[in-house]
Symmetry: C2
């Protein structure tokens, strides 16, 4: 019979459990919320558990950043990458990525802690990976290399700004179904137009 150690308190924890909970906390309250004792409360356990699985708080931060990076680059990109047509792949990105990440505050929150060396490194890697990916699609679409790169940066900044706005002032973004659709059309038309 399976262990059936439910999800309530009292069960044994793994390092993974701590990382998962830290990821949630990171999104909710920033890097400052990736703190041992508060997390212990959330997990209904104590520090004693934490310091068994991790050397210290820094180790947890490293782990949570690494996990975020994985879920992100690999997860999202491979989810869209099986579409052969580059234009439709891009359209999928425009539709799928916001749906998957607009609610996700981590990206935006992390920039606030960019002084943290590990955070800065993770952000750099993720950003470059994504822009390279968009650049490649634009190149497939026939844009010359340098123009593709510039457009990719523009496209990515607009995406970034959108998730930024989503948290800073969601009211200004189109809310209704139709409004959102029209907005998406405008964005696509503008960002992908060719003379």
């Amino acid at each position: 019979m399976a262990k059936d150690q439910g999800k309530g308190a009292g069960r044994r924890l793994t390092a993974r459990d701590w990382v998962d909970e830290a990821l949630i906390a990171l999104g909710e309250g920033g890097l400052a919320s990736v703190a041992v004792e508060p997390l212990a409360k959330r997990l209904k356990t104590t520090k004693g558990s934490f310091y068994w699985h991790f050397a210290n708080r820094e180790a947890l931060i490293d782990a949570v950043l690494q996990r975020w990076e994985e879920l992100n680059t690999e997860g999202v990109i491979t989810a869209v990458n099986d579409e052969p047509d580059p234009e439709r792949r891009l359209r999928n990105l425009f539709k799928a990525v916001p749906a998957a990440t607009d609610g996700d505050p981590i990206e935006v929150v992390l920039v606030g802690s960019v002084r943290h060396p590990q955070v800065a490194a993770a952000l750099r890697r993720v950003t470059e990976r994504r822009i390279d990916y968009v650049t490649q699609i634009l190149a497939e679409l026939g844009f010359p290399a340098d123009e593709a790169r510039r457009r990719a940066v523009l496209i990515y900044t607009s995406h970034l700004g959108q998730t930024h706005l989503m948290h800073a002032a969601p009211d200004v973004l189109p809310a209704g179904r139709d409004d959102r659709k029209r907005y998406l059309e405008t964005v696509l038309e503008v960002l992908l137009h060719r003379d």
Copy 2:
């Protein structure tokens, strides 16, 4: 003769001095750095001074947010608003605003503390003010009202994303003088194009 109470330690401070220093700290280390005792160290004074000028830390946070809001909306907009031609006004925005704000991390840092009610309110106000301003310019340029609004949001998100990138991964943005110029041209052409 003027007071000549230099800038060194030992001089009397005003609430304004605390707010100015807090503004710097906010940019450097986020809201968490708007902390009484660390600021006292930077100002080479003690908490005793602070709690004379302010009721508590919250009061300082409110003051620093208000000051940021002023420096921002009023400052930047009135600096560009005397240009009569709307297209050139927009171009000025594209050139002037990044130059003035790309080095300024406060906007980006604040989103990380959007759970703070005062922060959320300030961000909403500033954002709406700016987008309204851009919308108005686009309307002057002849875009229909709803399209103007959509484009303004797109333009603003791209700007936001750019200052975001500037801190998250400055390497991916065009660095050289010429590259930057070409990038700006691409951005303007794409974002302002009309069929």
